[in-house]
Amino acid sequence: MTLALLATSGFAAAMLIAALVAVVTRNTAVAVLSAGLVSLFASVLFLFLAAPDVAMTEAAIGSGLTTFLFFFVLGRIRREGSDEH
């Protein structure tokens, strides 16, 4: 019981730290990665709460698809920025 509580609070703290990093950092790639990390920790927390279906959705959409999408758009912004000059 205490071990589960410890692991849960550890993952919750890691989630908060990742969210803070995503907000504070100046590097866009790091921000995108830590936003994906928030979702990954959230899905582990869902797993601890005995909700594997929700955990799977969170991992697939929150940390998989969204992170890919952000990098995709970042690449496009860079491409079009380099076109202009």
Binding site: R76, R79, E80
Partner: protein
């Protein structure tokens, strides 16, 4: 300047405190239930017998609350249609795309070539095993779409067929509704999964129409996400 900033900070802190208070009252008033409530107890007791599905969550999503799932799929379809409508206005001229792409790098290209079949296989696995293990059509479809997105990331000049995606999307949607109507005709109601034999509990081909419905939902969700990504890729805002 300084006072304005402090007012803004105070407002932000006040809002955060209010949010914290709201969540705190939620948490403080929470007591875990000692036993399942009536609906949950019904599902826990009767799901395996009535639907033959090992995963109760899937049985609820696809069978007991199947109409809601149809609604969700419809919402996603509307979103994809609106994204295509809005982004389709500013489509790049043909032949204009493909030039001016930055090369995506050896690591990404090779990694994609290695990982893409595994990702697609995993998506199909998740969608087809929805009635046995956690996961299902939505998750599987999202995994399929992220595989597609990885392909677009590795090779931005690549195009996959609009028509194929649109066809997969509409055929699976129609088949989903047709299965639902078959449920009215042959079994107990709309989207009843007992139009097919329930089969052996825990086998891959069991739980009536649930694997079929989830395969269709997976295809539909994957096609919808892919079409959104594709219209995003094809837009040029010049």
């Amino acid at each position: 300047m300084n006072t304005r900033f402090s007012i803004r900070h105070a407002a932000v802190l006040g809002l955060l405190a209010l949010l914290g208070l709201a969540f705190w009252t939620l948490l403080a008033g929470y007591t875990p239930d000692a036993e399942l409530n009536r609906t949950a107890a019904y599902y826990a007791e009767n799901t395996a017998r009535e639907t033959g599905a090992q995963n109760i969550v899937t049985a609820i999503i696809v069978t007991y609350r199947g109409l809601d799932t149809l609604g969700e799929v419809t919402v996603l379809f509307l979103t994809a249609a609106i994204v295509a409508l809005v982004l389709g206005q500013s489509k790049a001229p043909r032949g204009g795309t493909g030039s001016g792409f930055l090369p995506s790098g050896e690591l990404l290209t090779t990694g994609t070539r290695m990982l893409l079949p595994i990702i697609l296989l995993f998506g199909a696995y998740v969608a087809l095993n929805g009635h046995l293990t956690p996961g299902g059509g939505f998750q599987g479809g999202a995994i399929l779409a992220s595989g597609m997105l990885l392909m677009l990331l590795a090779d931005p000049a690549r195009r996959f067929g609009h028509r194929l995606i649109a066809r997969v999307e509409s055929v699976s949607g129609l088949a989903y509704v047709a299965i639902g109507v078959l449920g009215v005709a042959l079994a107990g109601g709309f989207l009843d999964n007992r139009i097919l034999p329930l089969g052996e509990f825990g086998a891959i081909l069991s739980a009536g129409a649930i694997p079929l419905i989830y395969a269709l939902v997976g295809l539909k969700v994957g096609a919808e996400f892919s079409s959104m990504l594709e219209s995003l890729e094809e837009t040029e805002d010049s």
